[in-house]
């Protein structure tokens, strides 16, 4: 097939609309009878609701007021488990728990009313840290505070310690992080018993919202419709939480009989919606004197917050990535997601992997030091290659050339020369420079049997004018999904890019192509688009209306004739797993992912010893991602992910006060600005993956994984200080440097 569009940086499908302001985000949508809704939340972390009082001075009879009693169906946000209520009815489990919903035409009066609702709560003991949750003195979830646990066993770790010359231990921690998409979350709903429920909103996964609304209203599935409005970023933050807002807007609409819009402001979005799971990882690693890994014992815990939500799957990805891209004959991983009385933590680009990769990549630098090897040399002696097995026992059937990626990253960053120069210049310098790296992978698509279970479907439909529409539930959230689908379909059909349209995701009109998550859209759904497109062309060829090597005019005529004579021209493709993939959920072993992206990232830092501020001054990202579909979008994914990960590594610190985010403003939650981000130099190695479109693999989450350990490895190179937690804020760095230099004044 000719690659006329694949591999080229064509204009984004929705780019002009966004740049000119024509794009309609949920807060741009208005309907004549629409009123506004707000959420009244708990004020404390855990307790029992005694009563709700509505203060004086508010014309309450003008308001639609919804509590748990008004829910027509089941009071739950259905996801993996059903533990999270849509509105708290008796027990409060986190400080932002929704209790009462209000709607009114006047937005300002609505805020006054929100302040006038008083929820009386009898406090109960609460749990705020991983340690307190594990201690099980106070049980806040289930029987033991454990939302999910996994065991991975490869070889015999206990038997292997004797063969190790050196054993290295370390504990590593990562903090919560806000997604900070540009557009805050929001929904509009219309809902009544006759027509059912329709919502428009900012979201990643239309069918997740659909699934959640069905039990809440107790309606048949076809009476629920979810439509994605233009969406200004997601990063995982709009994977699950939109179900909550959709349910709230729909309940207010149901009660009031009017359309209801709920749009969060930044403060509410920051404090109430999900964040990245905080984590604690302990490594115990046995290594021979010549640097061969013989045993890895990993104990990983993530903080899930008050409800189970997606913690089980976040933990799964964290677990599988926790041993890194290395061959070790004996690996034991014990992982748990535990409950605390904070708002539930959720999906965020990387989905657990950035946490566990931070730990292993920081730890391997310590292991290298312990056996007197350069960090790259230790890794070279243990890199995973073709036909070798990962921690879950997955045999790698593709060529993995980490040595080549490392060589290229070191060449582009001038790693060795800089390391030498910094060692010479740092003594006596106020600003100390360092360089560090990490080597890592990211599994593309859903874990284990996830894709088989999803069984995603894509449809293509031709019009009589010879245009082709892609029907999928995969959402354009700024990453370029519509552009990529169009490139793939245009090449498969042999027609121009402009003839491809991507339908607005609407559960009433598009099949379920799965959620827009897990670096799966290009690779998995893109492949389905290609299959459906090839099938559409084949249908025309087999019906005798088209020859294989046709012109665009011939294609247009063939579509017209087909539709006139035979009716709608529509094709459908459904996911089929690549042959030979096996995953065992009970032993947590086998082929965790169909494939992985492989990468080496190098960070250069400057650490000011007067202010303890570390800045990233240069960044090199080398990765093998199969084939690049759109060079500008692909580089943009890497640059954006690296920038977001620099925030995670050095700046973004959630100030927790009894389960509540105290710095829910962009003035006090320090996200880096453009001025804080270094040049990010992106390099792709291409090796086609046979089961992705034209050989493409997933890319979206990969760049979140490698920067934090690279940066902290670089800080250690600059200062000699071994930091084991992120964010490495100046306060953290000061305490560590002061500890090294002696007590503070």
């Amino acid at each position: 097939m000719e690659e006329k569009y694949f591999g080229h940086s064509v204009e984004r499908k929705e780019g002009r609309g966004k740049v000119t302001g024509r794009a309609q985000y949920v807060d741009d949508l208005a309907f004549p009878d629409m009123i506004h809704g707000v959420t009244v939340r708990s004020s404390i972390a855990r307790g029992r609701i005694l009563g709700i009082r509505y203060g004086e001075g508010i014309p309450w009879n003008e308001f639609a007021i919804v509590t748990a009693k008004d829910i027509p169906g089941t009071n739950e946000i259905s996801l993996i488990l059903h533990d999270q209520p849509c509105l708290a009815s008796e027990f409060i489990n986190h400080p932002e728990e929704p209790v009462v919903l209000l709607a009114h035409p006047d937005k300002y009066l609505l805020e006054e009313a929100r302040r006038a609702v008083h929820i009386d709560i009898e406090p109960l003991p609460a749990v705020f840290t991983i340690e307190d949750s594990l201690a099980k003195r106070t049980i806040i979830w289930g029987e033991d505070n454990v939302l999910k646990a996994y065991h991975v066993d490869k070889g015999d770790v206990d038997g292997a310690w004797a063969t190790a010359d050196v054993i290295v231990e370390g504990e590593y921690r990562t903090g919560a992080q806000e997604q900070l998409y540009i557009e805050n979350q929001g929904m509009i709903a219309v809902a009544n018993p006759a027509d059912g429920v329709t919502v428009w909103g900012s979201l990643q996964c239309p069918y997740y919202v659909h699934k959640a609304l069905v039990p809440i209203f107790g309606l048949p599935a076809e009476k629920i419709r979810v439509i994605q409005a233009e969406t200004g970023g997601g990063f995982g933050g709009k994977e699950e939480y939109p179900s909550m807002i959709a349910a709230h807007a729909a309940l207010l609409a149901w009660k009031s009989g009017k359309r209801v819009k709920i749009v969060y402001d930044r403060a509410e979005d920051m404090v109430a919606t999900t964040k990245r799971h905080p984590s604690r990882t302990r490594h115990r690693t046995g290594v021979t004197r010549d640097g061969k890994l013989v045993a890895m014992d990993i104990d990983l815990v993530i903080d899930g917050g008050a409800y189970a939500t997606l913690s089980a799957v976040v933990l799964s990805r964290a677990t599988i990535h926790s041993a890194g891209p290395y061959v070790c004959p004996n690996v034991r991983i014990r992982s748990q997601a535990v409950a605390t009385n904070a708002p539930p933590h959720g999906a965020f680009r990387g989905f657990g992997a950035p946490q566990s990769i931070f730990a292993v990549e920081r730890h391997l630098d310590q292991v290298a030091r312990a056996v007197n090897l350069a960090p790259e040399e230790l890794r070279r002696r243990n890199f995973l290659h073709r036909d070798q097995t990962t921690a879950t026992g997955q045999i790698i059937h593709e060529d993995v050339n980490f040595d080549g990626l490392l060589d290229r990253a070191f060449k582009e960053s001038d790693y060795h020369a800089k390391r030498e120069r910094f060692a010479k210049e740092n003594p006596g310098a106020t600003v100390k420079r360092g360089i560090g790296f990490s080597t890592f992978m990211h599994g593309a698509g859903f874990t284990g049997s996830g894709e088989v279970y999803l069984a995603s479907v894509v449809e293509l439909e031709a019009t009589a004018e010879g245009c082709v529409r892609v029907l999928a539930a995969s959402t354009e959230i700024g990453q370029g999904a519509n552009t990529i689908f169009s490139q793939i379909a245009a090449d498969a059909l042999g027609i121009s890019y402009d003839r491809i349209e991507v339908a607005q995701p609407d559960t009433g009109a598009v099949p379920n192509s799965g959620p827009t998550v897990a670096s799966r859209t290009s690779m998995v759904v893109g492949n389905l688009v290609e299959k459906a497109a090839l099938d559409l062309k084949k249908t025309l060829v087999e019906s005798g209306l088209l020859c294989d090597a046709c012109t665009e005019d011939e294609f247009v005529r063939a579509c017209k004739r087909y539709i006139e004579t035979r009716g709608p021209l529509r094709t459908r493709s459904q996911y089929e797993p690549p042959p030979g993939l096996h995953w065992d959920d009970t032993t947590y072993s086998g082929d965790a992912y169909g494939t992985y992206a492989w990468a080496v990232y190098v960070a250069e830092v400057a650490v000011d010893t007067l202010t303890y501020e570390a800045r990233v001054t240069d960044f090199i990202a080398v990765q093998e991602i199969g084939k690049v579909i759109h060079p500008v979008l692909a580089a943009g994914q890497i640059e954006g992910g690296v920038a977001q990960a620099i925030g995670m590594a050095l700046y973004e610190n959630v100030a927790w006060r009894e389960g509540r985010m105290a710095n829910g403003q962009m003035t006090n939650y320090i996200m880096p600005t453009a001025a804080d981000i270094p040049p990010i130099r992106v390099f792709f190695e291409e090796q086609p993956y046979p089961f992705g479109p034209h050989g493409a693999k997933g890319i979206g989450e990969l760049p979140m994984d490698g920067p934090a350990p690279s940066i902290l490895n670089a800080i250690e190179n600059a200062t000699g200080v071994c930091l084991r937690e992120i964010p490495a804020t100046p306060e953290v760095l000061m305490e560590a440097m002061a500890g090294k230099a002696g007590a503070l004044v």
Partner: protein, 287 residues
């Protein structure tokens, strides 16, 4: 927007006499509203308790930068953008220009005013340390007339100032004596732009044959007010810059400031960094 807008009132007097008459008649009722860059943030968050405001936007007397032979007079409504662009301020008062450049965003710099920064009285404000180091005076106006006060001492406690409810801050005067002084300013806010100071340090000194003849040091975000560190200054004044003297001065500074833990930083960090910046400033003097 979380504020209940109908509860708020904003008057826009067309002249100074009208403005002064209003606050003379109802002292304390009408709070001045200049650029609004602090007030509007609170309003948006529904956290602006005061409801009645007096816009200064039409008061021409409060605008402009005027230079005489021995002083520069800045109207209270002078914006950060105007400060940065002014050639005499650039040449003689670089610390004020740097403070203006490092305050907020471009939008904030276009609207935010020097007078507003002073009377908003945030201990984390970026321009007051520079004003203290330049030995500024402030001019207050009421129906009874004008009075000048030294800026040092104007802030008496957290959000407390020597300004009566019937007075407005009209201008800030900087004596043109700083030219021969060595000057230093550093804002530490973790990110390079749009940051609120964790520590802000301004210093100026006049050197003579390796001895510190005169010195002024001021810091933000380390006390309930932006602080002139007079005890630290006294410890250095008349001395040469030696490692022992630097260590002694850092010790005095530690006892003079009172940093706290809050959501932005820690007391330990602020103390240590304040000392380090003092050291950097003193090292600059010795060069």
């Amino acid at each position: 927007m979380r504020a209940y807008i109908p509860a708020y009132d904003l008057r826009v007097p067309g002249s100074l006499s009208e403005a002064l008459a209003l606050i003379g008649r109802e002292p304390g009722v009408w709070q001045p509203f200049a650029g609004g860059t602090d007030l509007m943030v609170l309003l948006e968050a529904g956290k602006l308790p005061h409801k009645k405001f007096l816009s200064l936007t039409k008061l021409a007397d409060f605008r402009g930068i005027e230079c005489t032979a021995d002083a520069v007079l800045l109207g209270a409504l002078t914006t950060y953008t105007e400060i940065q662009a002014h050639p005499i301020l650039q040449a003689e008062f670089p610390l004020l220009c740097t403070a203006a450049r490092e305050t907020g965003s471009i939008a904030t710099q276009n609207r935010g005013t020097l007078g507003g920064n002073v009377v908003n009285a945030s201990p984390a404000a970026d321009s007051p340390p520079a004003l203290l180091v330049y030995d500024a005076d402030v001019e207050l106006v009421s129906e009874r007339g004008l009075r000048w006060l030294p800026y040092h001492g104007f802030h008496t406690g957290y959000k407390k100032m020597q300004i009566a409810p019937n007075e407005l801050l009209r201008a800030i005067r900087l004596p043109r004596r700083a030219q021969q002084w060595k000057q230093y300013y550093r804002k530490v806010g973790t990110r390079k732009a749009q940051a609120i100071s964790k520590v802000c340090f301004a210093g100026a000194a006049r050197m003579e044959n390796g001895t510190v003849r005169d010195i002024r040091v001021a810091l933000g975000s380390v006390a309930p007010i932006v602080l002139r560190a007079v005890k630290t200054e006294a410890a250095i004044r008349g001395n040469r810059i030696t490692p022992d003297n630097i260590a002694a001065a850092k010790g005095v500074l530690a006892r003079e400031i009172a940093p706290i833990d809050d959501i932005r930083s820690t007391a330990r960090y602020r103390l240590r960094v304040a000392q380090n910046l003092l050291q950097e400033f003193l090292m600059l003097l010795s060069r």
